[in-house]
Amino acid sequence: VLILIVDDEVQVARSIERLLHRHGYDVRTARSGPEALRLLDGIDLLLTDIGMPGMSGLELVAEVKRLHPAVRCCVMSGDAGAEGMESASPLVDGRIGKPFTHQALLALVRGDGGLRDGAEP
């Protein structure tokens, strides 16, 4: 499974990349929407931050769904519960709040997490 992680915060993308590598996933990372659009070839899952300068995560999801409807699209956000997360539901296949537990993130990637908040007690 090839996953594309998009976050303007490099360290967030890299920490997720490390985790997913450990669990046998192939991972690409991008720092922005436009950069992500150049790396879509062959991906199975897009995991993108919502709040990014320029192209937002939701705009990116809309574009990816238009170009590759089969790609699963998940979003993450630092201000979970904000309107961005709520209005995300029609197009996105999953969402997770920052910070997240590894279990929550892996469940999201496997697709058995459904729509959930990443934050756990």
Partner: protein
Amino acid sequence: MTERSRGTETRRARLLIGFSFVSVAPGAVFFALAIVNYHMPILALVTGVVFCVLPFAILFESMRLKTMAALSDAHTRLEAAREKALHGDRLVSLGQMAAGIAHEINNPMAFVSSNIALLREDLERGPLDPTLQRDYVEDILPATEEGIRRIIRIIGDLRRFARADTEKGVEFDFNEEVETALRMCEKSLGDCRLSVRLGKLPATVGRPREIGQVTMNLVVNAAQALKHGGEIRVETEASGTEILLRVSDDGVGMTPEVKARVFEPFFTTKAVGEGTGLGLAVVHGIVRAHGGSVCVNSDVEGGSTFEVRLPVASSSALRVARGASQGTGVT
């Protein structure tokens, strides 16, 4: 004006209107008499005029009273509306601030917690192989520590913004603090040149470290507006009972919308990692705590000028410890 006094005025106005109509009749009679009976023309004329003019005077007065009542009513309503709008504004600001804090802290928190969980999971599998160990020492753990430092910085900025710092005010040399601050942030200014003109200033009372912070935040903000380099002008001067600190740049100016929100906490036009939106909010907090004011002149074409005004004399907002300036270790 209260409800009751407004009611009284309205009643008085109605009474006056009634009276003015009643008194028009005798006025007319006396006036007619003055024309018909020229035996006592003067008396009749005077009485007639008085009775005719009086009603109009009374009418005028009653209208004035009514207008006053309506005006004060409108004023009360306006005041209430303003109060409501202000309150709404504060709530919006608070909501934006909460979202801002969540976002600024949750991002570093996401990779800090993920990296630490990863370390635990890796260690649970047994000893780390040398490559992985090097990866942790040289890359993952330093990045994690930087994330923690970022969170600490945000909390520190928030405390300064909320004026929770309790450092005492001391007598200090304003220019010296400005110069120290400029030396400290010179390296982070990239291609920007500093043009410094420090005027002769009287000794002032305040928290010198915070004044340094104000200077630094304004200069760094100016440098960020000058993306392709340029000149940052820093000036100080004494103006009456105030000390003036002016920091200007001719970089990217602000739109009126940005200008209106520029001192709001977590309001930023910069990319992630470039600014938390707290720098200018901290400036605002510190300056206000010193009993001073800060304002900005900016237009999209011609850059921005921030002007800080601080009172020379100690402000009651500061707990001044003049004698303690040598002893407290505050530099």
